[in-house]
Subunit: 470 residues, 2 copies
Amino acid sequence: MEHTQLIDKLTASARVHSVVGEDDWERWLQRRQAAHTFRVDRIAFDEMDGWSFDPDTGNLGHDSGKFFTIEGLSVQTDYGPVLSWSQPIIHQPEVGILGILVREFDGVMHCLVQTKMEPGNCNTLQLSPTVQATRSNYTKVHKGSGIPYLEYFTEPGRAQIVVDVLQSEQGAWFYQKQNRNMVVAVADDVPVGDDFCWISVGEIQRLLHVDNLVNMDLRTVLSCIPFGPGPEPEEGDGFVAALGRSLRADAVTAHTAQDILNWITDRRSRRDLVVRRTPLVDVSGWVRKEDRIERPDNRHFRIVAVAVEAASREVRRWTQPLLEPRRTGLVTLFVKRRRGVLHLLLHTGVEPGCRTVAEIAPTVQCDPTVYEELKSEPEFLAAARALRPDQIRFDAQLSEEGGRFYEATNRYVIAEVDEDYAEPAPTDYRWISLHQAVELLQHSHYVNVQARTLIACLHSLWGGAAVGGG
Amino acid sequence: MEHTQLIDKLTASARVHSVVGEDDWERWLQRRQAAHTFRVDRIAFDEMDGWSFDPDTGNLGHDSGKFFTIEGLSVQTDYGPVLSWSQPIIHQPEVGILGILVREFDGVMHCLVQTKMEPGNCNTLQLSPTVQATRSNYTKVHKGSGIPYLEYFTEPGRAQIVVDVLQSEQGAWFYQKQNRNMVVAVADDVPVGDDFCWISVGEIQRLLHVDNLVNMDLRTVLSCIPFGPGPEPEEGDGFVAALGRSLRADAVTAHTAQDILNWITDRRSRRDLVVRRTPLVDVSGWVRKEDRIERPDNRHFRIVAVAVEAASREVRRWTQPLLEPRRTGLVTLFVKRRRGVLHLLLHTGVEPGCRTVAEIAPTVQCDPTVYEELKSEPEFLAAARALRPDQIRFDAQLSEEGGRFYEATNRYVIAEVDEDYAEPAPTDYRWISLHQAVELLQHSHYVNVQARTLIACLHSLWGGAAVGGG
């Protein structure tokens, strides 16, 4: 099938709510939860099995040298209220695969999703892509590592590539982490495992509105699909019509594609970001206790350890460190109808773990309590806090990666502002159409992971998905 | 002017050999050389003024903390014949601007170039872009740092942006270095300094065929211009016709754009590259002497120091370290006519200073002597050495950046191979059209600096530029 035809079929699937062979996802999810037992306990660092602090560097790592390490990072920048600091950071140089397998059923494209437990999930099971595999896993594939469906993503010719792009993850918590975001299509039958289910794009988009259900990995892969505007031009001046027009390549936009590239290059060039990986013992302002590494002022996050017992994973019991944010963050995207075309207020945000100095971030992305203490707020945070209920188009609490973060959640909000709001946008901000954002998403390291979640959520509003997940 | 119109005018300028107000460039260059005196002497490290080795780390840096440092890098990879090593590397976190100002004269777009001395140039003066400025320079612009024409690149609204993209530089010698490659257009008169001259694109392209004349900075900016195929379809089955068709967006290519992105993502994902900046004293296998840091086996490069006296620069006398490669490298691009469309054999090369694990490199890029000693050669090196004269379409020795490298030169070759050659290409290689390569060049970190030079050189063959420099 032609690539454009695959995209058209995925676009059409966004209008459909369908689950193959199941009456509804809630009952399926309940059955999956009943089928497994999970238990996650906080433990002391010295109760971990195979993980230890290096006597010289103090870095926390696994005896095998695999998985990931907790190291130090020293940061100097000219961006934001704090210009120099050191912090613990997760270092995981391997590239993993986050992949969705798609296939047509009765002419409608469906995605193979799974219910997956991760130790940091606040609610145990979340909806995940077909495959989440680290490279240690996926290079072992021919030795039978047991990751189902992996071969469709790694073996040439097994499936047709729809999306394949490296994207960054949380730049405040990961050092230059990137994962491969893939969508691949098959035409033939595929056996469906117990924890797996074929559901339409529109149904996943509806589930995005349910708190902590669609996991970060599924959200980021969804965001990279270059959905088209659909076959019919949008009528009227409503929000959904403006959103549909925002998906068109020929929409009248505030800036040309060249202007946007110029803006990103300019922001990346003018900001200083000098980072250096350091031994964890050299990180100042953080204290290592029996069961946590934290700041005495309780800001940002702490490093903790957990023991996991699971009946649904390859390994039934393991221990590992996790990063635990201290607060639920606020991530907000302002949108507006500009001459009938929805525009997104995006921001070039500098984060220490970013490979490219700055990526495009949502309008607001922070732990608001940090700024209360600093007495210096990011632009638009006050406005994001003062939104009226009638401005809010999307509002859900969603989880970040539960394999590395302990109960990390953000409140994700999409809110509409007036046409003359923030016009022109401040230097670090631009009004960008959804099509322009999705074009950038076809390349690596333009759009950060929080903005990708909000782009997936914004797409969910176009199909007219029911708000509320019940 | 519309952006596409500017590109069309630059494309047309590639067919023109013209220098505004000068009979020819050779006489102008001779006059510029006569107007200046330069002297570069090798000195001992302790004769440098303001540069010293840090007593703890052994890093070589400037007392001001500015410019750049020579540090250590420890590298682990699964690519190439050597899997683990440490080496000195240049660390320069600032983003500089490499910019060409363009303007129409009598309907033909001309580029403002300058003759510029750099201490590492093997022949003192080379042809350079309008502006080569580090960020320390260009943020000082309002304090009168004295870099002519800088304001056209840094002040919004002073000129129209044609190209603006961050690109990497030598990944074997620089740690994650990137510079901003810009082309900006003005409509009004601009005063022309003594060392500056307006010349057409075609004339710069002709000068590319002269050894060590067009400097690296001018070559990389030229390569980022998305030249079109010209207004007329190409006739016939000759080399130049195939090259013209290779510039067309609708040419029949070996791979789709999506396939190429998939290939790059796959190669980046499957290769390990773990690097760590280290103190220079921790680099093993290198010896620091009075006036050099080098390997006892004489491989790769050494770090040296120079004293410079110049009458044409802001500062008339200064000292600085430079990196001196031990050999002239060989950089070769194989091209072929595939169904009448020229295709380039490009390679995903892993280099330690690369931000993205791998970038697209030429078919062959190496110091051949290193591999003689390793008894293990890169693919296509033997073929590149065995080329027949009638296969060679471009052949010149060109210099790398003389501000950081001491007499660093490569022999750049473009050679044509048969249509059935390397079909299909090995896993790390792909046959790619020129249009596809130039599309990638609109984004950062896809195409390395040596491949960019060869793309600029390949463009020079399209206009039918005379080979040999006059």
